[in-house]
């Protein structure tokens, strides 16, 4: 299979779906040139810097028969649109008794590592998990991004696609357009089989965990890596199954721990009696420290988890 970058995979998903369905159109504060070239400025709309309005207009256009993709670029820029996300998009289907469909995709880049300081280095996906009515995908590979984004565009609900800043240039095998591969929203994938400990890792942390697993294999620790791929809905069964097999659970996430996806995963895993009984050690989270993200490289690296911190966390759980 050919290899393409994560960024390219996202673009291909959009192109293929825009070709498939004339109702799909795209809004972003900067035009994406290949989309302008192929679909024109009507369907690739460069907008004013007015994310709140773009977010709300997407709801209106979706309720009127279109399938908008609203690209917030960095997740940071969607915070001005919180009313439209929280009060409107997340609730509109339910509140009006399911009368209308609102097929919208909101795209947002998340994560740090770019020395961009607090406002431009955020992974706030759990804030949105807190809202019922939103589906959330968090793909870690080019193939997952393409397949999940295609599913998101075909979904009849608001779906947020959180895409890792650190993953954009990462390459991976992705099927060609004619394969039309979609990946179902709500299905985790075991990215590495192991027997001593389960690590549920999110987005960029999947790759750091896979690297840590290589190191630990040499120390005789066999790590299973589970990538939920979508966090709303969250495939809790795959996680529990893995934990029942290994008896240990570590969660690795670039986001902070407080009320995070990591907290939800830990709870969902352990409140199941059979999974709880299988545990041989306390659950451990390896997340960012609970501070805004600082600029200076040494500070930023101190705040984020990485393969070494994840390996340490795994060792601690295995020894516990």
């Amino acid at each position: 299979m050919r290899e393409i970058t994560y960024a390219q995979a996202g673009l291909e998903a959009v192109q293929e779906e825009m070709r498939r369905d004339g109702k799909v159109f795209y809004m972003s504060t900067d035009a994406i040139l290949p989309l302008v070239k192929e679909f024109g400025e009507e369907r690739m709309r460069a907008t004013p810097i007015a994310e709140s309005t773009m977010t709300g207009m997407s709801i209106g256009a979706a309720g009127s028969g279109f399938r908008p993709i609203c690209d917030w670029r960095q997740v940071t820029f969607c915070f001005v649109a919180m009313d439209q996300i929280v009060n409107q998009a997340a609730k509109i289907t339910y509140m009006f008794g399911g009368q209308q469909k609102f097929p919208i995709v909101y795209r947002a880049a998340v994560g740090g590592g770019g020395r961009l300081a607090a406002q431009h280095s955020q992974s706030p996906y759990s804030m949105f998990m807190n809202m019922s009515g939103l589906k959330i995908i968090l793909p870690s590979t080019p193939r997952d991004l393409k397949g999940l984004l295609k599913s998101a565009i075909r979904d009849n609900n608001p779906v947020i696609s959180f895409e890792g800043n650190r993953l954009l240039a990462m390459k991976g095998a992705v099927p060609e357009a004619d394969a039309d591969e979609t990946i179902p929203i709500g299905k985790a994938e075991v990215k590495r089989q192991g027997k001593d400990v389960t690590v549920v890792a999110l987005a960029w942390a999947v790759h750091e965990t896979l690297a840590a697993a290589e190191t630990l294999a040499k120390e005789g620790i066999s790590v299973e890596v589970v990538d939920p791929r979508t966090i709303a809905p969250l495939d809790v069964e795959t996680i529990r199954e893995s934990v029942r097999k290994t008896g240990r659970l570590v969660i690795a996430d670039e986001a902070g721990p407080v009320c995070g996806a990591s907290a939800e995963i830990a709870t969902l895993a352990t409140e199941d009696p059979a999974t709880f009984k299988a545990l041989k050690a306390p659950v451990k989270r390896v997340c960012a420290l609970f501070v805004p993200i600082p600029y200076s490289p040494g500070l930023e690296d101190h705040v984020f988890p990485d393969r070494n911190k994840i390996a340490d966390g795994i060792r601690a759980v295995v020894k516990a």
């Binding site: 460069a46 810097i49 915070f79 001005v80 020395r115 431009h120 490289p297 101190h302």
Partner: protein
């Protein structure tokens, strides 16, 4: 008030300091000493300089992602600015902020801001505070044409007009928001000042590369604000010489002829002021070269200061989440 030769030389000094600072920031960014992202203010120096020149100590300003020029014009220290860009402990934000987040609260510089239009309501709050203090303080909001499309702009214009807040809304209209031309996303093809009429406040358009026009408009607006008559919207038509950011591979789709035309001597705000000083005030080439040399020395010194300052210790990442 007509600007005398000494004031004009000071303004030239400020503008050239901004330009040389930005050139150095760009070089050091590409040399890997400055991280993340840097947005240069080159080409727009007259705006910060002319507006801040109409302010006094105690007045407050807020800036944007393109903030170095506003800092310098409000009197921020070059050493601490450069140290912040270098991510060092002696930087304004102890290495936590970087280029997009330099502030000097003592100088009334309430911060650069990574969120487009994110500063407009904050500085409108500073104007409210100035009004409640009743000591004649004034606030200035600098923002781009792009920001003028965002909700906070409109909400602030309304409240500041309704409450007669002592504030200047200074739109730096460089015709683009990143890659997107203002003509394609703003009403009336990108005119901003006309909107003031809807709020019943003065809205003026000035040549944003003409230090005289900017300073005059700012003085008038400041006098109005201090007199309790409320806000003014000043739209400065200008251009950024460089790409939106200094990032490698940053696309710049603007027509090359357009860029060249704005860089020409008749448009360059610095060359225009130099020409004026030479024609009217006997300013010589030698004096200009000497001024520039001193500025370059000063910037070199700020880089040495930054180099000498240590990186913060990793655990310092946990400091300053809350005030004591």
């Amino acid at each position: 008030m007509a600007l005398g030769p000494n004031t004009l030389r000071e303004m030239l000094h400020t503008m050239q300091t901004i330009r040389r600072f930005e050139e150095r920031a760009s070089d050091d960014y590409h040399a890997g000493k400055i991280y993340g992202v840097v947005h240069c203010y080159i080409g727009e120096e007259a705006i910060a300089t002319g507006v801040c020149g109409a302010l006094r100590d105690g007045d407050q300003i807020i800036s944007t992602h393109r903030g170095h020029g506003h800092c310098i014009a409000k009197g921020a220290d070059l050493d601490r600015m450069m140290a912040e860009l270098y991510g060092r402990r002696d930087g304004y934000c102890k290495g936590k902020g970087g280029s997009m987040h330099i502030a000097d609260f003592e100088k009334g510089m309430l911060g650069a801001n990574g969120i487009v239009a994110g500063g407009i309501s904050i500085v409108t709050g500073a104007a409210l505070a100035a009004k409640m203090e009743g000591k004649g303080g004034v606030a200035v909001s600098f923002f781009g044409d792009g920001a003028s499309a965002a909700g906070p702009f409109h909400e602030c214009m309304n409240i500041a007009a309704a409450w007669k807040l002592p504030i200047l809304y200074v739109c730096e209209n460089n015709g683009y928001a990143a890659q997107t031309p203002a003509s394609t996303t703003l009403a009336r093809g990108g005119e901003v000042a006309v909107r003031a009429a809807a709020y019943g406040i003065p809205g003026v358009v000035v040549d944003g590369n003409d230090i005289f026009a900017i300073h005059e408009a700012a003085e008038k607006a400041v006098a109005r604000a201090r007199a309790g008559e409320g806000p003014t919207l000043i739209e400065c038509r200008t251009y950024r010489w460089r790409a939106h950011t200094e990032r490698k591979g940053q696309p710049d789709y603007r027509p090359p002829e357009e860029i060249a035309a704005w860089k020409a001597a008749g448009k360059d705000p610095i060359a225009r002021l130099v020409d004026h000083l030479k024609a009217k005030h006997g300013f010589t080439d030698a004096e200009w070269q000497e001024m520039d040399r001193q500025i370059l020395d000063r910037i070199e010194q700020s880089c040495r200061f930054a180099e000498k300052s240590p990186f913060p210790a990793p655990e310092e990442a946990l400091d300053d989440v809350f005030a004591a």
